[in-house]
Structures are given as C-alpha cells and as structure tokens.
C-alpha cells in the first residue's frame, strides 16, 4: 500500500510510470528483432525478387492492352505495387502472434500476475518489432529505385497518406489481435489464421489494387475493413482518391478502427473471463 503512495506523488509522474513499462517492452522487442540479422537480409532479398516479378507482370499486362484498365497508368500501378511491398515490411509484423504461444504454454497466467495490461503489452511489443523493420524501408526503397520509378506526390498528399497508413496499421493490429484471441477458445486456430491472412492479403489491396475488381465486386471490396489496411493509403498516394474525398476515406478507416477496437475490448474481456473462471 505504501508502495502505491510512493509511486504516484504527482499526476505527470504517474502518467510517466504508466507508460514506462510499454516503452520498455517496445525497446526490448526492438533489440530482440535486431538479433535476427539473417532474417533482415532475406527479407530484403525476397522483396527485391517480388518487386521484379510484379514489374514484369504489370508491364506485360499493360503492353497487351491498348487502354490502361480502370484508367490508372502503368507508372502509378508500379508505384502502388512498390509501396505496397515496402508497407508490408511493417504491416506483416504480428505482435499479437505470441498470444497463441502464451495460451498453449500456459504462460498467460504468469503474465496476468503482473501489473500490466496485456493488450497494451502486445501492442507495444509489436510496435517495437515494427520500429526495427521500419528501418529496413530505407535500404529497401533504395534497392527498389534501381528497378522502378516511384512517383512522389505533393506534401499534402504525402501527409494524408501518412495519416491513412497509421490508421491502417492500427486496423491491422486490431484485426490480428482478434484473430489470435481465437486461441482462447480453440487451440487449432492456425488454419483459420492462414485463411484470414490470405483473404486479407487479397482484399486489402496488397497484391492487386482493388480498383481492378469489376463493378459491384469493387464496391463491396472497397467497403470491407481489409481495404483500410493497404488500399486506402495507397489509393490516396497514387491519386485515385482525390483530396476532396480524403475526409470520407479517412473517416471510413476510423470507423473500422473503432469497430475493431470495441470488438477487441469485448473479446479480451470474454477471454480474460474464460481464463479467470475456467483456469485457462
């Protein structure tokens, strides 16, 4: 009890104390990721190969068509593809994957004996990993520039892209969190996870810009939450979403973020209940 009093003499101090563990988690995750150097290099190599293939496929497709499909020129598609690959360096990091291990090995119980919020722990751990992999973007970008030309839009567009990317990152986190929380109910969630991953890769616009989908399907796919992850920031970047539509596009991302956050909170409550009532 006295420790409690000692810890919070002023509000600012206790706010710092509240954030301190999560900053430390992120720092440790960053350091941990840095020890896997080989993975870093293979990541760069695979990115280069994928970009090369993408360039070949898109160039061949465009050479066959007299009119560019959906009115988006080849250089925009290549910019889109290249940026999608760079973004995947960060977005493919799943900090919540350890939920599975913790449940399988039962260490979730010892984690609950610590005075921390576990969802925030997963978030900061993932953020730390992300930070390290984000550093890779610079060499990856330089490498990419040897293959393709990347359009650079005006600063206002870049800013909107940045904001949209951040929202996409958060939507991606909550989606991963929800998926991994399924492990609380079923231990064989891996197949489900893989399926969601594939569907999400396709429907998020990571591989093919969603505007290539025909008519009705396109409207549906663009309205799905997956689009908030890759498609929205990238379409802002290449100009398919014009500035007058930014507010709407960003608002839709925010809506998905709120929906998934609320859902995450509910699922976490239920999961915690499951642990505390049934003993995990």
């Amino acid at each position: 009890m006295s420790a409690e009093l000692r810890l919070g003499p002023s509000f600012a101090r206790s706010l710092g104390d509240l954030a301190a563990p999560y900053v430390a988690f992120a720092a440790k995750a960053f350091a941990r990721e840095a020890t896997y150097r080989m993975e870093v290099f293979t990541n760069l190599g695979s990115l280069f190969v994928r970009l090369y293939l993408m360039k070949a496929v898109w160039s061949a497709l465009y050479a066959q068509n007299a009119l560019p499909p959906s009115g988006i020129p080849l250089h925009s598609v290549l910019t889109y593809t290249c940026l999608a690959l760079l973004m995947s360096l960060v977005l493919e990091i799943d900090g919540t994957r350890s939920i599975r291990e913790k449940i399988r090995e039962g260490t979730i119980a010892t984690d609950l004996m610590k005075p921390i919020s576990l969802p925030l722990y997963f978030f900061s751990d993932g953020a730390g990993m992300t930070m390290l992999h984000a550093l890779l973007i610079v060499p990856a970008l330089i490498l990419s520039l040897t293959l393709v030309h990347i359009d650079v839009p005006p600063p206002a567009v870049l800013a909107a892209f940045g904001l949209s990317f951040l929202l996409g990152y958060l939507v991606n986190f909550t989606l991963n969190f929800l998926m991994n929380c399924s492990a609380f109910w079923t231990l064989e969630g891996f197949a489900v996870q893989l399926m969601v991953r594939w569907v999400s890769d396709l429907l998020s616009g990571q591989i093919v810009p969603l505007i290539f989908f025909p008519g009705l399907l396109q409207s549906i796919v663009l309205a799905l939450p997956f689009a908030a992850i890759y498609s929205t920031p990238l379409l802002i970047y290449v100009g398919t979403i014009p500035p007058q539509n930014y507010a709407r596009a960003l608002a839709l991302q925010v809506v998905w973020l709120v929906v998934f956050s609320v859902l995450s909170a509910l699922v976490w409550r239920a999961a915690q209940r499951r642990v505390v009532v049934q003993g995990g």
């Binding site: 301190a20 900053v23 440790k28 010892t110 005075p115 049934q278």
Partner: protein, 341 residues
C-alpha cells in the same frame, strides 16, 4: 476447521484472509466417438468439479507458511485465487486488504510469484535486462531498484551471470534469477510454487537460506507450495494441509509432530556384536552389524531411561535419536485423516 488457534491469538490484521473459499470448475461433458462428438456440440450437460471447497485461513504479515497437499488437492487453484487470476465461485478472499480478482493489477504490485517449473524471466534477454524490464513493469523507484539489485546480486551470488541470456543459465542460476526478479519490487507477499524442484543439494540450500533471510530481514510473508517437505521443515513453523479441496490441518509443525510422532527410534552402536538385544520398553526394529534400531513410545518411556537401560546391559559406542519424518506423518494424515486428540 481445526488448528486455527495459533492464528487467532494475534491481534494484528491478517495479510491474507480467506473465508469459505470455494472454486468449482464446470466443464461440458464430452461423449466418446464421432456421434458423441456431434451430440456434445448441442449438449448442455455439464459436469462440476469441486477444486476447492470452503477453505478458511488467515496469515499474519511475516509468516512463512507451508501450503501442502497431494497433487490435485487444490493448492494451485487456491494460489491462483490469491494472485487474482482466478475468480472464486464463492467465499471471501483478501490479500493485503485487496480483493485480488477485483483488483488484479493493484494486487500484482503487492505480490511476488516464483514458479520452479516456469521462469518469468525473458528468455532471449540477459538476466540484467529482465530485471530492468521488471523495474519498468512495477515502476520501482531507481534508488530502491539499485539497492535491491545490489543486495540480491550479493546474497544470491548472481554477479558472474548477470549479463548472460536467461536461456543459457543453469537451472540453479535461473532460479536465483527468478527469486531476485520476484522480489525486486518489495512485495509484501510472495508465493513460492515448487521453488527447489530439480535443484541439487547446494542450490536448494542457497534458495532456502535466501528465503529465510528475506523473511527475517524484510518481514516478507511467504506461502510455500512444495512436495519437498525438507523445504517446509527447514523454513516453516506453520503448515496448512489440504486434501480434496478441504483444509485438513492448519497449525504448527511441532504440534503435528507431538500428535503423530509418538514413536521415536533409538539408534545404538554397540562395542561388540551382541547376539541378542532385548531392552524393556523398546522393540527391535532392525539391526545391521553392530548398529541396532530400537523403536519406543515416548509417552511410556523416556529416552533417558531407555539409554540408561541399554548402557547398563551393554557396552555402547554411540547413541542417537531419530524423529519420524514429517513426510511419514503427512502420509498418515492423507491415509487416515486428521483426528483431533
């Protein structure tokens, strides 16, 4: 319940208190076979398993209590309720004035936990970095952290491996690290779950000495769950015995010995190979060369009297008296149940 007297004589507020603490696990009854599995999907047949049924106990600050019971007796279920990660089905539980399951995170600040079978340190990180992380987690003031770290590094002799990644530590080193990690934030109550399992004699003794010292110097309350009764004999004055989720005995180990340990063994080493050994008031339990073991009831004959009788009749080199081990006493209680004298 029995043996509550020693807790009630204290007037201070108990640091741990439970009243009629119960935990019932409910699980869906699964039926065998494919058809059974399908039926299970729609079945509403539940089976209740009572893990803890009505445990009432009270611990004062600074006590070091052995919490003993066979596998499946409900020990870890109780500990989980005390640490706030399991909600009781009914009853009251309070740790340092808090209701653990209602205030899990606040409760976590006042308790420390050491599991012999599961490290809480961060596998990939050097030991010292795990400690740093714990400092951040518990928000330990830097001064306090430094003083504690210095103290524990010295008493647990962790200096040589502070910078070694946890996965490269030996079990003994890792356990010392786990102990330090659990104590850095000055917890008022520490739960030890099989803390010496798998350790060699020297490492066991180091851990026991450390616990005794922290208990004495800092007044930290310890609850020790273990199957190694040597830990309990060495550290605890009081034990709480549970079986099938109910409290069987709560009181001093000495009292248990007095009650159950009515027989002692006198081990005599004779000068000559005696062909026949017969002592009034004792029965020959076994003999091996010149060493004989004589069992006697200390209520009917005193050790002094017995030794005099032996010495009167034979030439004796050495005598010693063995008390029954706590283990055999407890085994008897599990088998026969505890009966009030």
């Amino acid at each position: 319940m029995v043996g509550m007297a020693c807790a009630e004589t204290h007037r201070t507020m108990p640091i741990i208190e439970t009243r009629d603490l119960r935990k019932v696990f409910r699980s869906l009854v699964r039926q065998p076979g494919v058809a059974g599995a399908l039926r299970t999907l729609f079945s509403r047949h539940y089976e209740d398993k009572v893990a803890v049924q009505g445990i009432t106990m009270s611990l004062d600050a600074g006590e070091l209590v052995g919490y003993i019971g066979p596998n499946g007796a409900g020990k870890s279920t109780t500990i989980k309720m005390l640490t706030g990660i399991l909600v009781p089905t009914s009853g009251m539980v309070r740790v340092a004035g808090l209701v653990p399951y209602e205030q899990r995170r606040r409760n976590a600040r006042t308790i420390g936990v050491v599991f012999g079978q599961r490290s809480q340190l961060y596998w990939d990180l050097p030991l010292i970095e795990s400690f740093e992380l714990l400092r951040a987690i518990y928000g330990i003031p830097r001064e306090r952290y430094r003083a504690n770290l210095e103290h524990f590094t010295e008493t647990l002799e962790m200096g040589p491996f502070l910078n070694t990644p946890v996965r490269q530590l030996s079990l003994g080193q890792r356990m010392r690290g786990d102990f330090a990690g659990a104590m850095l934030h000055d917890p008022q109550v520490v739960f030890l779950d099989e803390p010496t399992i798998g350790l060699d004699v020297v490492a066991k003794e180091a851990i026991r000495t450390f616990v005794a010292r922290v208990n004495q110097e800092r007044g930290t309350t310890f609850i020790l769950t273990t199957h190694d009764l040597a830990d309990v004999e060495r550290l605890c004055r009081r034990i709480v015995l549970i079986d099938h989720g109910t409290l069987v005995y709560d009181g001093e180990i000495e009292a248990l010995r007095d009650r159950y340990g009515t027989h002692r063994t006198l081990v005599v080493t004779f000068f000559d190979e005696e062909p026949e050994i017969r002592i009034e008031g004792a029965e020959l339990e076994s003999r091996e060369g010149r060493v004989a073991r004589l069992r006697f009831d200390r209520r009917t004959v005193s050790a002094e009297m017995l030794i005099r009788r032996v010495a009167d009749r034979y030439r004796v080199i050495d005598v010693s008296i063995e008390e029954p081990e706590l283990e055999s006493i407890i085994r008897r209680i599990y088998l026969e149940g505890y009966t009030v004298a």
